[in-house]
């Protein structure tokens, strides 16, 4: 499998008014063309890891190396972070316009990805006129529209109601499996073991803070996956054991 990204020995310590908080204690990970989930107890440093990969935060040591010529990253934030004064279309097109793409071209591309998430008809709406699930779809369309190599998602479904979350999960999975986007690797942070098994090729389990890699689990179940199958259940048990270890 071609390599997309190598994360080697990331360390991060926050220092705030003399309080020293070690968050990442050496995280290493090879990322191929795959869907990876990161699981870990609350506050262990998952978001911090994702932010370092996205370049939002600097690591104290260690590095993140892309092996692809194109290093573009899409980021699906936990809350949609849409700008309330821009329409859906303008929100999705904003990163493109900021990177110098011409206006009509940016809009055209934005429309394409809005269709992929099923929101083409809502392009002239403002965020406040959308439901939570629709806003999160726009968030995803915006991340895809920059045509990234790597897609990072921080608990993308945690703020949605269970039904909406479930349908959005399968939509994202479909987009990924059918290869209709430029994304070659996905790293998703989640609290939800079930969701991790359902979606990913590999699951990285982190220890409580400071985070280390407790174990990496390959999910070799055939897709579409059945939550009620015994293999699914067995994997779930193994992961819970690894988390509480």
């Amino acid at each position: 499998m071609p390599k997309v990204l190598t994360i080697s020995n990331l360390r991060k310590t926050f220092i705030e008014d003399k309080r020293v908080l070690e968050v990442l204690a050496g995280i290493s990970l090879e990322v191929g063309e795959e869907f990876i989930s990161i699981l870990g107890p609350s506050g262990c440093g998952k978001t911090t890891l994702l932010r370092i990969i996205a370049g939002l935060e600097k690591a104290d040591s260690g590095e993140v190396v892309f092996h692809t010529p194109d290093k573009r990253v899409g980021f699906v934030f936990q809350s949609p972070t849409l700008l309330p004064w821009l329409t859906v279309l303008e929100n999705v097109a904003l990163p493109l316009r900021a990177s110098g793409v011409r206006r009509d071209e940016a809009y055209e591309k934005a429309r394409k990805y809005l269709s992929l998430v099923g929101l083409r008809a809502f392009e002239d709406f403002y965020p406040r006129e959308l439901s939570g699930g629709m806003k999160q779809r726009v968030n995803i369309a915006r991340a895809l529209a920059v045509e990234p190599t790597l897609l990072l998602m921080d608990e993308p479904f945690s703020q949605l109601d269970p039904l909406t979350a479930e349908s959005l999960r399968s939509e994202v999975l479909d987009l990924w499996l059918y290869g209709v986007t430029t994304v070659r690797a996905v790293i998703m942070v989640t609290h939800n073991v079930d969701e991790a098994i359902l979606m990913s090729d590999r699951i990285v389990v982190l220890s409580p803070r400071p985070a280390k890699v407790n174990g990496i689990i390959e999910v070799n179940l055939p897709r579409p996956r059945d939550r009620r199958s015994p293999e699914f259940q067995k994997l779930e048990d193994r992961i819970y054991e690894l988390i509480s270890a």
Binding site: L56, R97, G100
Partner: protein, 503 residues
């Protein structure tokens, strides 16, 4: 005919001054405000400075600042720039604070978003910073615009002892006609001024507030729509050009450090150069004036206290009726916009009959001018920010349980208003000291009213051309105001914030 022509030209010139000052203030507010919100260092440096600048009596520093600018840029241009600069100083502070606070209140994940998707400074400016503070800019413009007119005359006619500067404009025209005892000129001047103020509100600010803030204000939206689409068009084009330029050149629209330092040095040199003519000799003249400062302060302090109390009571009562009835709200706001805009210096001649007819007349006129400089800050803060924060759910609760009249005022209405009331009172406190300078002493065409007090002290120093005394008393007053801000107001604010601010 000649009068009409003169009136129109003068009004056009004054309007041009106001609009230039407004545009400069707008640009300053957006750039300084967003800079403060982004950089910790700039924030900690500028916040206290602005805090002081916003509450000191700017009028006291007008003559000296004007002299400085007039020397720096000789000829009519220097004077014109000086006038615009002085109007800017009466517009800009609350606008900067507005931009700063609304950017501070922005969800921090928006900054993450901008970072992840590599929005450069230009893209952030056009797509995030400016739209994010649109509401506060409009709200503050509403108040600032009135503040600008209030001080317009002081910027058009300035005398410092023998030196007198006069700019052609509606403010100077009104004062000139009055001192020439040309009553027709005086009253038609005031009428045209009122019409101009009314027009700017009806055609521009009110429709803008209706669109952006959903405030109930009377207005004629047609002109605003044209301006809006024109500005929107130009703005969109500018955004397009600058963001793509930014990407193409890979430049950061940021000045490198050495250039910044050089600019600062240049500014300092310019100030030093223009100050070279001011000798230190007159410092000795300042001493006797300064020694009477405490006594005069003691005379003015109760007046300011009374004005604040009156402003507080009146504005809560009026705001209450405005809250109950849309019609009252529209009428009072409109009246407020015009009344608050009438230049400070015009009030004395306008009410000269009252001042002369009764022994208490001068005191009443003084109080009115004082109130003009204070009341509207409280009132507009209540109307724009306060009433919006009388929470719908609390109001509905009150309706359901039939809480009305006094209990409603006491337990729902006033507590909801307290945060904006405190902000308004703080501005009014600074504003009334500023107003004291025009309220306590006036010299119009030979007739002089001297009501004593600090304001009168400062005005007399200006009239005698005693620059040192003028600066010394203004500084002393500023010091006193800042001291009270730092001790009394800060505590009051903390108390209200803890007790009544949010949940």
């Amino acid at each position: 005919m000649l009068l009409l022509q003169e009136l129109l030209i003068a009004t056009a010139l004054s309007l041009a001054r106001m609009f230039s000052a407004y545009i400069i203030s707008l640009l300053l507010a957006i750039s300084v405000g967003s800079w403060m919100a982004r950089s910790r260092a700039v924030e900690s440096l500028l916040l206290p400075v602005l805090d002081v600048l916003q509450s000191i009596p700017i009028l006291g520093f007008f003559p000296a600042a004007l002299l400085l600018l007039a020397r720096l840029l000789p000829g009519g241009l220097g004077l014109e720039l000086a006038a615009v600069f002085l109007i800017v100083t009466s517009l800009v502070w609350n606008m900067i604070f507005g931009v700063y606070t609304s950017l501070k209140a922005l969800d921090p994940s928006v900054y993450d978003m901008a970072e992840v998707y590599r929005l450069g400074p230009a893209a952030r400016f056009f797509f995030i910073y400016v739209p994010a503070c649109r509401e506060s800019i409009i709200a503050n413009s509403l108040v600032s615009w009135a503040g600008g007119w209030f001080f317009l005359t002081s910027a058009e006619v300035l005398s410092l002892g023998e030196e007198e500067y006069r700019l052609r404009g509606i403010g100077s025209l009104i004062l000139d006609s009055f001192s020439r005892e040309d009553l027709a000129g005086f009253y038609s001047g005031v009428a045209v001024l009122l019409a101009a103020i009314l027009a700017t509100y009806l055609l521009l600010w009110n429709p803008a507030s209706v669109t952006v803030l959903r405030l109930p204000l009377p207005g004629v939206p047609a002109v605003f729509e044209v301006v809006k689409s024109a500005v929107g068009y130009a703005w969109g084009g500018l955004a397009q050009v600058l963001t793509s330029l930014e990407v193409k050149l890979g430049v950061v629209f940021r000045l490198p450090r050495p250039i910044k330092a050089a600019l600062l040095l240049l500014a300092a040199a310019a100030v030093a150069y223009s100050a070279r003519g001011l000798s230190l000799e007159p410092l000795r003249e300042a001493a006797p004036v300064l020694s009477s400062f405490p006594l005069e302060l003691a005379k003015s302090l109760p007046r300011v206290g009374l004005v604040l109390l009156l402003s507080l009571g009146l504005s809560v009562v009026i705001a209450y009726f405005a809250h109950l009835s849309r019609g009252v709200s529209m009428a009072v706001s409109m009246a407020g916009e015009v009344l608050a805009s009438i230049p400070a210096v015009v009030w004395w001649p306008l009410l000269s009959n009252l001042a002369l007819s009764h022994p208490l007349g001068p005191s009443i006129v003084m109080l009115i001018v004082y109130l003009q400089g204070a009341f509207w800050y409280v009132y507009f803060n209540l109307i724009v920010y306060g009433l919006a924060s009388v929470r719908k759910d609390l109001d509905e609760l009150a309706t359901v349980y039939r809480v009305r009249g006094l209990p409603y005022l006491r337990y729902v209405f006033v507590p909801s208003l307290l945060p904006s009331l405190a902000t308004g009172l703080l501005s009014a406190w600074g504003g009334s000291w500023n107003a004291s300078i025009v309220a306590e002493y006036v010299d119009m065409g030979g007739r002089t009213f001297d009501m004593q007090g600090v304001g009168s002290l400062i005005s007399k120093a200006a009239a005698q051309g005693n620059v040192a005394a003028l600066l010394a008393t203004s500084l002393a007053l500023s010091l006193f105001i800042v001291l009270v801000n730092k001790t009394l107001w800060v505590r009051l604010f903390r108390f209200i914030e803890r007790r009544y601010g949010g949940e």
